[in-house]
Symmetry: C2
Subunit: 313 residues, 2 copies
């Protein structure tokens, strides 16, 4: 049987699965932590792929979603901040040395967008924005039914647009990016800064709380925690208005843990979006939806990429 192997490489865990062309249910799947003391990530990745390799039959391709930024044409990972040693790493070529089959590669958020468009919340939409809000803020864009990759595959870095000049430092080293205000760690940082400056809250500066803890405190009425999410939501709404003016999508799909905090984030977001949009036409018929593919977004996005490249419909 002809099989496509798909891989999803994240900062925390790596997944792999083998699919027959007929089904979205994998024949076999496996998941391991990305890092383990003493073992290079690439060695672990090879073992993971071998663990789902079919005993009989032919592998048509290995299709890989990876943390980026990366060049899908050359298979070059420029800088995966959460993966030790993957700076200017020729992932495509190295996989090809070990596995003599076609290798396809894409940025994880881009492929999640492609997966949601083909199999998930975005089915039927020709123009969509996918936004994942968790440790970072990643994006994927479909325009005219095509993945928007740009000239080097570096497009759709939606977390890295400037929303507040001279604002907080971003993980990428620049200032005032959306990710530096509306990601999970950014919400925590803001609350910690306010606590240091003397504000009171259920949250304790001496404890190592995360964005989920902040959302729990907010739901219990903690004013500082509520404000932390409101600030994140407000800048998210401002950024969405800019994205919509640039891309005019018919659906915006939200993934990532922070996007599951509900009204805490989305009420201020919609308030600011409605205030900032330049013409109501942009919002007429525009849908907002949660991602449907969950943990499988990367694997199914890589599958959609393989099907497109192999011209399997």
């Amino acid at each position: 049987m002809v099989t496509v192997i798909t891989v999803d490489i994240g900062g925390t865990s790596m997944r792999a699965a083998a699919y027959s062309p007929e089904s979205l249910q994998p024949l076999i799947r496996n998941k391991i932590p990305t890092t383990s003391a003493g073992e290079p990530v690439f060695e672990r990745l090879i073992g993971l792929i071998q663990s789902v390799w079919p005993k009989d039959g032919e592998v048509r391709a290995i299709s890989t979603a990876s943390a980026g930024p990366l060049d899908p044409n050359t298979g070059f990972v420029f800088d995966a901040p959460n993966i030790p040693g993957w700076k200017n790493f020729p992932l495509g070529d190295k996989l090809k040395e070990v596995f003599p089959v076609p290798i396809f590669l894409g940025n994880d958020a881009n492929l999640a967008a492609l997966g949601e468009w083909k199999y998930g919340a975005g089915v039927g939409h020709q123009n969509l924005i996918y936004l994942t809000i968790s440790t970072g803020i990643g994006g994927g864009i479909i325009c005219n039914d095509l993945l928007l990759e740009g000239s080097q595959g570096l497009a759709a870095e939606l977390g890295h647009i400037t929303v507040l000049p001279d604002g907080p430092l971003c993980s990428c080293g620049k200032q005032g990016h959306l990710e530096a205000i509306s990601s999970g760690p950014a919400i925590v940082n803001y609350v910690r800064q306010m606590l240091i400056s003397g504000e009171t809250s259920k949250l304790d500066l001496k404890e190592d709380f995360n964005a989920y803890d902040v959302s729990r405190a907010a739901k219990e009425g903690d004013q500082l925690a509520i404000r932390g999410y409101a600030r994140a939501g407000k800048f998210l709404g401002q950024a969405l208005a800019s994205f919509i003016h640039i891309l005019n999508p018919s659906i915006i799909i939200f993934g990532g843990g922070v996007s599951q905090s509900g009204a805490l984030l989305f009420d201020p977001m919609f308030e600011k979006l409605n205030a900032d949009i330049m013409h109501s036409s942009y919002l007429e018929g525009l849908k907002f939806a949660p991602a449907m593919l969950g943990d499988d977004a990367g694997l199914l996005g890589a599958l959609a990429l393989a099907h497109r490249k192999l011209q399997i419909t």
Copy 2:
């Protein structure tokens, strides 16, 4: 002979031309002021089209570039601020009533981008950004060799992204947009504000100077005028970094009068762009070029649209 008529409707003047399929040189062209006392703009437009209508032969289509925003699918102009009476104006349907041929329609900046991609500075580029900086700031985007129109044709409003929250009021009624800081009138407004607050300059508050006057003063060493352009350039650079992170183009093409002010605008722009770009890969091989089609951008963009729609290569 089979002819395509193209029209370019701007706030100041309207142009029309008739093209044979074989040539970019029009068979005939005409230009009139958009408004004239007592005569509705649409009546003037009909007369203009009739003035270039071929005496013998067949008209395949009328292709129209218009100030927007507009919906190219329905032919509906939502709001053309410089054209009296064109608010929710069904331009496509009204043209079709008078001229029983296919009517194609596009936003003027979008079609200028399409024209530059097919006939001008963008030939050979699959992913480009076109930015026109004059009275307003308009944009057009080509991705994967396709015009990025979005779900309702409202995409690429690149002048209307927020670069400074709570910043100056924009022509669209919102605050802190790129157009409100880096367009010609925005540069003039900034200089006038500084003069009111007591700064000294060659420029005189009592006179009705424009952005060109400010650039001339700057070239003569006037510090306030230099700062007006530097501020516009700095926010332009910030916006470009965001556009590049979203779209990863291989060329950015500048049109419009303000973009002809040279180093005054572009030196601060490049300084800020280089500071704000999150990875040097985005700038490797990225070209910056002036628009090549000049006053013909709208007419030739509309021609490119007609050729695409009629499948003339």
